[in-house]
């Protein structure tokens, strides 16, 4: 893993230089969701280790994180917002970035402008854990996202991971330990 850490350092140094050039055109407007009382909470937890992805038989694109989903129903005549958070002890292997995003019925939660580049190293848009993790030096990560308002209906809030882009030599593996996926429903 030392090799990946070193490569990661160099890659991120380059990223910083690039960042300085691209900042002015990269940010979207600030968005605000103002919600009322939290009416419902769903929590999924696991002690793990939960390994997502495969080095040798990877799946390209976004894949569901097993267990990290919640089904929520908004009652007739109501509207609601969703707030979701994933917290976990992480280990990201065989790839610079282990990316995570949240969706509601397949639609991205905020902040997310859809400009994620799965082939870029240290693309901060969705980075959850990185190759700076090593088996002996791991970190606790927390990501928070929100979306809404939504009308009455049935919704699935889900966490997904991106660990392999077509053409890469092998896939990444994201391992979560003592993870929690929490979805709060608030009146809109």
């Amino acid at each position: 893993m030392r090799r990946y850490t070193l490569i990661g350092l160099l890659a991120s140094l380059a990223a910083v230089v690039t960042v300085g050039v691209a900042v002015a055109e990269a940010s979207d407007p600030v968005q605000t969701i103002s919600a009322g009382a939290i009416t419902h909470v769903k929590v999924k937890t696991g002690t793990g280790p939960l390994a997502i992805g495969s080095q040798t038989t990877p799946v390209a694109g976004w894949v569901n994180i097993p267990g990290a989903s919640a089904s929520v129903t908004i009652a007739t005549g109501q509207q609601a917002d969703f707030i979701a958070r994933l917290s976990a002890h992480t280990l990201c292997q065989y790839r610079y970035d282990c990316d995570v995003r949240f969706t509601v019925n397949g639609q991205l939660m905020q902040p997310d402008n859809g400009q994620f580049d799965g082939t870029a190293n240290y693309d901060g848009a969705e980075l959850f854990a990185s190759a700076n993790d090593t088996p002996s030096q791991q970190y606790i990560r927390t990501m928070v996202r929100a979306a809404g308002p939504y009308p009455a209906g049935a919704y699935t809030v889900r966490a997904q991971a991106f660990l392999y882009a077509t053409g890469e030599p092998f896939g990444g593996v994201l391992t979560l330990t003592n993870w929690q996926f929490l979805v709060e429903t608030a009146k809109a």
């Binding site: 960042v19 968005q31 919600a35 902040p111 980075l127 996202r145």
Partner: protein
């Protein structure tokens, strides 16, 4: 569905002078705040990347642009605010000296708990990582409050400010009855 009752128990470890003189002499205190149901949520976010600049050779906290929320605690009631700020963060140092950036969250200009005066220092250097902090207020009386995420981008010991790059940041503020 019964509204979930929120019980907030905060154990805030505040490290004082021990941070300078060594762990053995650290001063630790704890605080406890108890709240009830969460009555409102503000979620402020920005997709993409922003740059936050500091000021050379000062230790001033600067507002993270846009990372603010205003909440009102109704008349004749008390409230507690819970705040979370998270972002993919790159702390860089164009000048000499080691890079270091800090985050804190304030309510009407006062740091939320825990706060030991040098909050959430990140020696992120060139390594971008997902970072988050969670803070809480004391029990607040009725009134209007502004919650603001701030960054400390430099240190008097360094010769230049350290720009901070944030991507896909979010500030969440939950308002609980007290």
């Amino acid at each position: 569905m019964r509204s979930p009752r929120l019980v907030i128990i905060l154990a805030a470890a505040l490290v004082g002078a021990g941070a300078v003189v060594g762990v053995a002499e650290a001063v630790t205190s704890t605080q406890s705040v108890t709240g009830k149901a969460v009555s409102g949520v503000r979620f402020v976010s920005q997709a993409g990347m922003i740059r936050v600049d500091g000021q050379a050779q000062t230790s001033n906290w600067v507002d993270i642009p846009g990372a603010t929320a205003t909440v009102t605690i109704p008349a004749s009631t008390n409230g507690v605010l819970l705040a979370n700020f998270d972002a993919f963060s790159v702390c860089s140092a164009p000048g000499s000296g080691p890079p270091a950036c800090g985050w804190r969250i304030t309510v009407n200009g006062q740091p939320m708990n825990p706060d030991n005066g040098s909050d959430a220092v990140m020696s992120a250097g060139s390594n971008g990582e997902l970072r988050s902090i969670q803070r809480s207020s004391n029990v607040l009386a009725a009134g209007t409050y502004t919650v603001q995420a701030q960054a400390l981008l430099n240190d008097p010991a360094y010769t230049a400010a350290n720009p901070l790059f944030l991507t896909n940041w979010s500030l969440e503020v939950q308002q609980a009855k007290a």
